[in-house]
Amino acid sequence: MKQNRSWQIILNGLFNENPTFRLVLGMCPTLAITTSVVNGLGMGLAATFVLICSNVFISLLRDFIPSKVRIPAYVLIIATFVTMAELLLEAYAYSLYQSLGVFIPLIVVNCIILARAESFASKSRPWPAALDGLGMGLGFTGALVIISSLRELFGSGTILGLPVFGEAFQPALILVAAPGGFITLGLAMGLINWIQNSRKGEM
């Protein structure tokens, strides 16, 4: 029973309340850094790390933070873990650090993290909060990987830097440029809606 509940929290973040496709949170990094799968994966995992740590911490401190100053307190806790992630990436994955650029410090203002702090971590014990962070983080990572693989595949004809199509392939450069982010995400969401609508029709 207990294990069931744990799985439920993780799966909730992955599918039912997927932060990108369902809750529509954290749009800026989703649009900006999904030009290649490596970037998407890196950003997703960095955000997952921050989500798990901040969720656990906020959950531990939930009885001590006065509700009036809770938002600044949460932001400060989140900023601490983001700084840690930033320093770790700079030390151990410098090329990723450079290609994500300003979007690493901007994890602080990623609405997913603050939203989970407010709506989940501040009301639950540390273990479920950690699981929620994991589920949400993986849901975010999954969405980033889906969008970035579409953009990398059609925009530069590669996956993880390896060429997929033959030499005759003309990459659609617009997809890796700024407008492609908006359009790819819009079409991906439309596709998900369409699949769900047609499923409903079958039932």
């Binding site: 954290g26 800026c28 407008p179 908006f182 359009i183 369409w194 609508n197």
Partner: protein
Amino acid sequence: MSFSHLALIAISSMLVNNFVMAKFLGCCPFLGVSGKIKTAVGMGVAVTFVMALASLFTWLVQYHLLVPLGLGYLRTIAFILVIAALVQFVEMVIQKFSPALYHSLGVYLPLITTNCAVLGVAILNIDAEYSLLEALINGTFGGLGFLLVIVLMAGIREKLETARIPAALRGFPITLIAAGLMAIAFFGFSGLIK
């Protein structure tokens, strides 16, 4: 530091490297609060104001507090604190001196703390090693660029309400696609600056 150099920064941050269209900063309010032109104007004005002030104060914090003390690694934490305090302060000042403006902006002011365009402009100013005046211009015109696109987007969305759209694309997806087409249009500005 000639006038044309400053004008170049202004045009660049407002149009060519527009915060929303080219840098993807401030997408959440851009997509969330662009339903009606009136609220979009309110949000845009508030963001412009805070971006200008944030550019000024974070620059001062960086070069007169963090750098002399050797605390450069605390930048993210320090900046988000400055911005949160600034937003709170702006809220109180507006409430005191212009209750009318406060009521029209009211709801949007606290939201600005988590607008990544504000933290984004602060960090980009430092990364680009701008002087105080350059940072101020970058912030102000970046904010005006945000105002421009959010109002344009609200206009488009008011028209979309009555348009015939495939069921699956209704709502969020069509907004994103419209934003994508707008971003293509903003590509046209890239010829302005060599």
